[in-house]
């Protein structure tokens, strides 16, 4: 696997991430349009209109907002998504194939704890703060299962390097023998993107929660950041569990793209299919059922690896 070390390629990676996020938003627009009885095509361009509207909108201000922290929260989502992109392989290319790529991805999604809470805190509004607290309590539930879900492919590949994990799936994709880890990872991606059914931090019952007071460019950055996070999550799941660029006939970068888009569509479409999951009810289930399941999955993989050696 070759690695592109020229930093100029980072710009291209950012553009690809942006386009994929926009496609995800377009699909969401189509789903909404269908549910409202309009034709799906009429909703496909709605994110572009929303983008234009938000770019022209003036920022709303709140009393005694902590502006510095608020802006950090608003910009943070996109920054985290871009930092994650650095370790995600696109076909056989990867921006920074660092030896601890998996830990890097994990560290970046922990940054979201800070970013989303600051988003709720900065506005100095009750609903925003409740949203921030909801996200943190949800994060306490999903983070440990997510960590063990990420450890599992690393155990199987004998490496924390993303390219090694992709190479180790030559022949058998990891999703086949670690389905539990795959499902936990996908659920965690939805959860750290604060996307329904794990989207109560921005729920309509608290007037949009962390989104309630933000407007204009800030809102654009946060909404785009959520789609970008879903996209990076899908792309990382492809590298970790779905064989990366492996596939017949087509070149590997195209396979990566196809798999990522497919997974992204599933994430986006799930939003209105499932009831919201409350963080306070999630905690007990996550710690008593999901975490032991993730540990058993890791144990199973470790035994297979040791026996098969």
């Amino acid at each position: 696997m070759s690695s592109l070390l020229n930093p100029a390629w980072a710009l291209l990676a950012a553009v690809v991430l942006g386009v994929l996020a926009l496609v995800g938003a377009g699909v969401h627009g189509m789903v909404i349009a269908r549910s409202e009885g309009r034709s799906a095509r009429s909703g496909a361009l709605s994110p572009v209109f929303e983008l234009a509207r938000l770019l022209r909108q003036r920022r709303r201000r709140t009393v005694a907002a902590d502006v510095l922290l608020w802006r950090v929260g608003c910009g943070g989502l996109v920054v985290v998504a871009l930092l994650k992109t650095a370790v995600i392989p696109f076909g056989s290319w990867i921006l920074a194939d660092i030896p601890v790529g998996i830990v890097w991805f994990n560290a970046m999604d922990v940054l979201l704890w800070a970013v989303l809470w600051l988003l709720g805190w900065g506005a100095n509004s009750a609903y925003g703060l409740i949203g921030g607290y909801r996200f943190l309590s949800q994060a306490v539930s999903y983070e440990l299962p997510l960590m063990f879900a990420l450890v599992t492919p690393a155990v199987a590949a004998h490496s924390l390097q993303v390219s090694e994990v992709v190479a180790a799936q030559n022949g058998l994709w990891f999703v086949v023998w670690m389905p539990v880890a795959f499902l936990i990872f996908c659920a965690s991606v939805i959860a750290f993107s604060s996307w329904s059914p794990f989207g109560t931090a921005a729920g309509s019952d608290i007037a949009g929660g962390i989104l309630s007071e933000i407007s204009g460019v800030d809102r654009l950055l946060v909404l785009a950041g959520r789609y970008a996070l879903l996209t990076t999550g899908a792309a990382f799941a492809v590298a970790m569990f779905l064989g990366g660029g492996a596939g017949p006939l087509l070149p590997d970068w195209l396979w990566t793209l196809l798999k990522t888009l497919l997974l992204l569509f599933v994430f986006v479409a799930l939003r209105h299919r499932l009831p919201a999951i409350r963080p306070d009810r999630l905690a007990e289930v996550a710690w008593i059922i999901v975490l032991p399941l993730a540990l058993l999955q890791t144990l199973f993989v470790a035994i297979v690896v040791v026996v098969g050696r």
Binding site: A64, L69, I98, V103, A107, L118, L160
Partner: protein, 187 residues
């Protein structure tokens, strides 16, 4: 030379945000200033090729500070973003003592005849760390893990006001636990 400049910049960030922790008025800002200090130190560790330890330092400390912010705000019982606060005691002696400690430590650093630097470590440090804790230094990890487990239990015992008799009844025979918050398992 570039490495020295980058290191000094990171050190200034780490120390300045460390000072900011005790200077700013807002709980949230104080906590996240400490997080910045930790991220700077994590980046310094990356400069010493400690990829794994550097990244998990960043990971753990940002997580801890996100939780820390909640505790700060929960226990202060006021809106710290609006009110300036000064909650110090013995400020003068604390300053004198810490400045004195710095002078002492700095003098030690500069005056002690350190041995000549050895060869820098090479090879895959993450893999060698894994082999070390699973090999020659396994006893260390075997000691740390029961300590961490004991910490979990001790912290829960201290912090949780309700024990199993509150949840499962005096004879522990209730069919489903009685929790203050309904939901989750058991209802």
């Amino acid at each position: 030379m570039l490495a020295v400049i980058v290191f000094c910049a990171l050190a200034v960030v780490a120390i300045a945000s460390g000072v900011a922790v005790f200077r700013v008025d807002s709980m949230a800002r104080a906590t996240y200033a400490l997080a910045i200090s930790f991220v700077a130190v994590g980046a310094m560790l990356l400069m010493f090729d400690l990829d794994y330890i550097g990244v998990i330092t960043i990971l753990m400390m940002v997580m801890e500070m996100a939780i820390m912010a909640i505790y700060m705000i929960m226990f202060m019982g006021m809106n710290p973003a609006l009110m300036p606060m000064s909650m110090v005691h013995n400020n003068r002696w604390a300053l004198i003592l810490s400045a004195g400690t710095f002078v002492l430590l700095a003098a030690g650093v500069l005056l002690v005849p350190w041995p000549a630097p050895a060869e820098s470590p090479t090879g895959d440090l993450t893999a060698s760390l894994g082999e070390t804790i699973m090999g020659s230094k396994m006893l260390v990890m075997l000691t740390v893990s029961p300590i961490l487990f004991a910490t979990i239990i001790a912290a829960l015992v201290l912090a949780n006001p309700r024990g199993r008799y509150d949840r499962w009844g005096d004879d522990l025979k209730r069919r489903s636990p009685h929790d203050l918050r309904r939901g989750g398992l058991g209802g």
